[in-house]
């Protein structure tokens, strides 16, 4: 700790223990803790405690106070925990803290959540430390050889577990969860042997108290080394799964399925719990006994049905939970195998039909589901997300057809809320891109082509929607699908036959800026594939592209909102990267006009993107920067790269230097950083070739440097004027770009973030600092 902080610390501690002094907000205390954490992690902290007795004094006085302020108490407890994590500090603190264990017990029930949670964590730290010395081996579960302090804590936990009051049980479970989560020493094994009968007793109760915390504890134990050795644990887990209500059991089941090594039977049981709500839906939706459904153990038992029927919120909650859990599970490598893809698909489709009111159930449960789910946006969103994830697998064609049919229903329905519509578009995209190619050629298969024929009119209508979210998600969908399929003949044909490209062009003038931005991206993408024709008509095919470029440039220079302008810069960058035919026609003209427009933009992201575009341009002229991809195999180049002199000439013609140098002194740090990187890249490329001229004294350089100094001072109005390549290189050589990069790498608030500044701020708010006293009269 630096001496200045040591000097400020006693005053701060005095403020914290003084109940009359206002304490700065929680974030200050959090930052202070963060700082202490880095200090304690940096090395042994005993010295720190010894040199700053005010800290121990603080802990002692706060714990002894009759009515401590919650946030200060929480802070002190956590601070004590930080120090107590080191053995020597613990011994040092023990003198003052061992009497405090009782206080900490009572603080577990504090009304402030911060205090309660800190008290629990502190107990864990103390327990862990107490067990470290004498009990490194395998202490007996009975605990006769445990240190007194640990014995006291464990007995307290045992008492709490036996309590009939749920909050007590919750506290004990939370302490144990943290213990098994953090401590992996052999003694935890003994602890579990000692406590597991009490935990098992909780399962006998009805209702099971603190089920949430119980689930957390069991999973925590299962993940710890205890779990891999104790087979009794698996039985407890299985028992818990069957005792908990379907909603409570969901998180436990997911947790079990995520475990690396647990018995197959338990996994099957857990998977059954997750599948049950969907099995129930399938059963309710079935017209007749259908194809085989889920594996054994997931047959839609009566408890799940009861939950469905009990209330709307219970039904919706359970379904959403099941869908979210299964969605997570599907993405995991350890997901159950075989994965019941087909029944899951059927269930997702059935849920979406229930929500849409298009299902025609025959059973009572089905009728009830229909009434509860009709128009329920929450379930619709969850089910569409889930359906989208299922696109990673395949399914029988008849089912895939159903999936597309239900997606089309949602895309068409005027009742789909904007969020649901967005999700429906996303799911559709995933299914479209996942659909198989026709075996004979690389074009889209006939089913997909048929679907496209129905989809495009819907998309067309959505682009005309008065609801901007609908237009926006329609455009996003169009962009994505074009990005992937722009080269597919069937897609090109269908798209050109629809009015979609024209409508997209019109949306460039949409009143909503988000829509304009999406329209910019979409037209850019369409144009990259030659799918965009401006509304001016087909009679002048040769001016079409020029007019889109002009239109986008117009947006870049005049649009009042940032989003469309940023989108234009992204499109231009992409065009440049792709070697878009019309950009390539007059590359320099293109770059010059874009950079000119971007340099005057008020939005720093636009300027930063301008630098990105400039970098792409540079790379194309000079070749890839080597550092970006060190293992890339150098391809034989078709044409030799232009000579450096030619490149520099070109850069001067498009005024890239002026743009970059101006950006170097940009008031927004990311822009300056990017520019610095770009100039460094250029310098590195140019230096080895080394221009023969040493232009240090050239009059050009003097004027440029003078201008740059004025820019740095904030007068950016003046242009640089005509630049000679030699002068530019000379300036670059003379500038300390590396130094500048180092400066810029530090965040702008690195001064304000220092602990010294934090301490000063906190003291300043209570007016303790000496210099403030002078102002008081």
């Amino acid at each position: 700790m630096d001496p200045e902080c040591s000097r400020l610390l006693p005053a701060l501690c005095a403020v914290l223990v003084d109940p009359r002094q206002p304490v700065a907000d929680d974030t200050c205390l959090e930052k202070l803790l963060d700082w202490f954490k880095t200090v304690t992690e940096a090395g042994p902290s005993l010295l720190l405690l010894q040199e700053n007795p005010c800290l121990v004094e603080l802990l002692f006085r706060v714990l002894k106070a009759h009515d401590p302020r919650p946030r200060v108490l929480s802070f002190s407890l956590r601070l004590a925990g930080l120090f107590a994590a080191q053995e020597d500090c613990f011994q040092y603190l023990q003198v003052s803290l061992s009497r405090a264990v009782d206080t900490i017990f009572s603080l577990q029930g504090d009304s402030s959540l911060f205090v309660a949670s800190a008290a629990g964590q502190l107990l864990v730290h103390i327990l862990a430390l107490a067990m470290r010395g004498p009990a490194e081996g395998h202490p007996s579960p009975q605990g006769c050889d445990w240190p007194a302090c640990a014995q006291k804590i464990v007995c307290h936990v045992e008492d709490s577990l036996r309590s009939t009051a749920t909050p007590q049980v919750t506290q004990a479970l939370n302490v144990l969860t943290t213990t098994f989560g953090h401590c992996h020493s052999p003694w935890t094994q003994g602890l579990w042997v000692r406590l597991s009968p009490l935990v098992a007793c909780l399962l006998e109760k009805d209702p099971i108290p603190a089920s949430h915390s119980l689930v957390d504890l069991l999973l925590s134990v299962a993940r710890s080394p205890v779990g891999s050795s104790d087979c009794g644990l698996w039985e407890t887990l299985a028992q818990t799964l069957s005792h908990l209500s379907p909603t409570q059991a969901g998180p436990l089941a997911l947790g079990i399925l995520k475990l690396q090594d647990c018995p197959q039977a338990l996994k099957t049981q857990a998977f059954g719990v997750l599948l049950q709500p969907l099995a129930c839906v399938l059963k309710a939706a079935a017209q007749a006994p259908g194809p085989p459904g889920f594996p054994e153990g997931a047959t839609g038992d009566s408890i799940t049905v009861d939950t469905f029927l009990s209330s709307k919120s219970a039904c919706v909650g359970l379904l959403c939970q099941a869908l979210a859990h299964l969605e997570l599970l599907q993405l995991l490598p350890q997901r159950p195998s075989p994965w019941p893809q087909a029944p899951l698909l059927r269930a997702a489709v059935a849920i979406l039909r229930f929500c849409h009111g298009s299902a025609a159930p025959t059973s009572d449960v089905g009728g009830h589901l229909c009434a509860v789910l009709a128009g329920c946006v929450r379930v619709q969103r969850a089910a569409l997300d889930f359906l989208g994830t299922l696109s990673q697998g395949t399914g029988p064609q008849e089912l895939v057809t159903q999936v597309f049919a239900v997606l089309l229903e949602y895309l068409t329905s005027p009742d789909s809320s904007p969020m649901v519509l967005k999700k429906a578009f996303q799911a559709t995209l995933r299914w479209l891109l996942g659909s198989p190619k026709a075996p004979s050629c690389c074009d889209l298969d006939p089913h997909t082509q048929l679907f496209l024929g129905e989809l495009l009119p819907v998309l067309r209508k959505r682009l005309c929607s008065p609801c901007w979210e609908a237009r926006d998600s329609g455009l996003e969908f169009l962009t994505q699908v074009t990005r992937h399929w722009g080269g597919q003949a069937a897609f090109r044909h269908a798209l050109l036959a629809s009015e979609v490209p024209e409508l997209t062009g019109q949306l460039l003038r949409d009143p909503e800026s988000y829509v304009r931005a999406s329209a910019v991206t979409a037209t850019g993408q369409l144009s990259s594939w030659g799918l965009y024709a401006t509304p001016t008509g087909p009679e002048h095919p040769e001016v079409q592209q020029e007019s889109l470029f002009t239109e986008l440039l117009h947006i870049l220079s005049t649009d009042s909102e940032g989003f469309p302008r940023r989108a234009v810069m992204h499109v231009f960058t992409q065009w440049l990267k792709d070697g878009h035919a019309d950009v390539a026609e007059d590359l320099e003209q293109f770059v010059a006009r874009v950079l000119q427009a971007a340099s005057q933009d008020l939005d720093w992201e636009v300027r930063a993107q301008g630098l990105e575009l400039a970098l792409v341009f540079l790379e194309q002229l000079l070749g890839q920067p080597g550092s970006r991809c060190p293992y890339a195999v150098a391809l034989p180049e078709a044409a030799p790269p232009a000579t450096l002199a030619q490149v520099l000439q070109a850069l001067c013609r498009v005024q890239l230097f002026e743009f970059a140098l101006r950006a170097l002194f940009d008031c927004d740090r990311p822009v300056a950083q990017k520019s610095c990187d770009l100039l460094l890249f250029l310098k590195a490329k140019a230096t080895p070739c080394g221009g023969p001229q040493e232009a240090g004294a050239s009059p050009d350089v003097v004027s440029v440097e003078a201008a740059l100094q004025r820019w740095q001072a904030g007068e950016q109005g003046q242009p640089l004027g005509e630049l000679e390549p030699e002068a530019v290189m000379a300036v670059l050589r003379s500038m300390d770009l590396e130094g500048l990069r180092g400066m810029l790498a530090k965040s702008s608030d690195h001064m304000e973030k220092s602990p010294q500044s934090l301490l000063q701020d906190m003291l300043a708010t209570v007016g303790v600092l000496g210099e403030n006293e002078a102002d008081c009269y």
Binding site: G357, G367, H368, C464, P466, R509
Partner: protein, 631 residues
Amino acid sequence: QYCLSGHPTLPCNVLKFKSTTIMLDCGLDMTSTLNFLPLPLVQNPRLSNLPGWSLKDGNAFLDKELKECSGHVFVDSVPEFCLPETELIDLSTVDVILISNYHCMMALPYITEHTGFTGTVYATEPTVQIGRLLMEELVNFIERVPKAQSASLWKNKDTQRVIDPGSSMEDDGSAEELFGAVQVTPLSSGYALGSSNWIIQSHYEKVSYVSGSSLLTTHPQPMDQASLKNSDVLILTGLTQIPTANPDGMVGEFCSNLALTVRNGGNVLVPCYPSGVIYDLLECLYQYIDSAGLSSIPFYFISPVANSSLEFSQIFAEWLCHNKQTKVYLPEPPFPHAELIQTNKLKHYPSIHGDFSNDFRQPCVVFTGHPSLRFGDVVHFMELWGKSSLNTVIFTEPDFSYLEALAPYQPLAMKCIYCPIDTRLNFIQVSKLLKEVQPLHVVCPEQYTQPPPAQSHRVDLMIDCQPPAMSYRRAEVLALPFRRRYEKIEIMPELADSLVPMEIKPGISLATVSAVLHTKDNKHVLQPPPRPAQPTGGKKRKRPSDDIPDCKVLKPLLSGSIPVEQFVQTLEKHGFSDIKVEDTAKGHIVLLQEAETLIQIEEDSTHIICDNDEVLRVRLRDLVLKFLQKF
């Protein structure tokens, strides 16, 4: 309650409440017009040369009246409507008619002009004015087309008579008293300009009549829900006719389809009423057309009452939602269609004849009536535009099945879009409303107590309340379940002064009162009884008016209950022995076997049955009386 209409959204019920007879709404079911041929505005060879329809046996006696068109049979006549039931109750006994909105008053002429009705019609000012416009439009549509057969009661003078002198208009929130017996109060219902629900209450009973209400934020004043609380009976009619279509989604659908059609050079036809949803549609389009690049497309509104409708909507500021009301103080017109008219984007004409034919430009959007497609200028546009697939007809009014409306125009090339916009309450809103206002009983048309026939699995599309709603159907008479049976009686101050209440239980005091009950205009007043004539020594002759009934000295009233065990103890104390107590269904029997006497103690009576021993009876009576309070 007498139910004269089977149409849930065009109700006509008669409520006998207290001593009044109140008609609730007077809707005219016009769906029957769909069975008639359209009335073309100009000579139409297609419609006039339709083949007559003959029976299977070749009998063609109906071929003059029935015509076959596109596989359907239609009546070739002026359309007829389905009137409210007139036989169920003598309509001349109706005291008042309460109208809730302008759609629910179209049958008024039939009731007020041909039944001997002499009562009063109550409706809010905008309801009367706009209702008059709707009637005028209808009469105009039908009368301007000469047809030989006439089957309609609709005569212009009827309409005028009904509306002008007979009705009385109410300001929202103020109550009107009917014959002293009941008060009727209109409450804003949020559905249309001036639309209202009604509260009909006496001192101890409250009936709420909910008809055509909306919780959506559209142009009218929002619905007043709080005043519906504490109802004994809530009569619920006029829910949305399209419970599965959400109005927001439909408006979106409307705009998208309109834009798509016009972009392709097609015309859009919107069959509509001259007031109501059209205001909201114009407002949406006002916001939408610029963004959709449609600013140059003309919008035409064609109706004999187009001008009045657009102007009326701007002057009823106090009937509008808060947003629109505040505009008036700026001052700005509350509806943006004023600006559409100013900038020439919206033009309105009384009919297709005259100025319209000069201004007509295509592609365009036309709003015109009638939504049934059987009469009005819409018939002309259907014939004009039906053959091109570029054009679109967009149905927004939910009153008519669009497929049936289109039947006589088939085959049709033009696109048909069905976007029914019905802002009335849906079943989710109803269940929230009922939870909120907690009526003791709900009465509704039977259609609302079961899922729609086409979607029998949608149990969510019905009213779900406890106790279950009582349902009614056309021509049914329903006894409404009123639980409380009290009347309010006033006591004259001097009589009240003379009362001496006695507290018989903490908080409950009683007093006997002798008075004359005076009832007039359904109000009851207790007046002091006339004083008995002073004994004046017989010198004066009694005047006849003093000859009043004798007021006997009243025996005190008794209250309380007799604890049997204590009573038996008392009897024993007074020398009775051999006492037996038997429990009966209503109380107890105390048997004095020795005295051959029986005392029957019940909740509200005590009988002493003894064999001609008056002394014993009096003795026992006095013992009984000791346990009771007297006053």
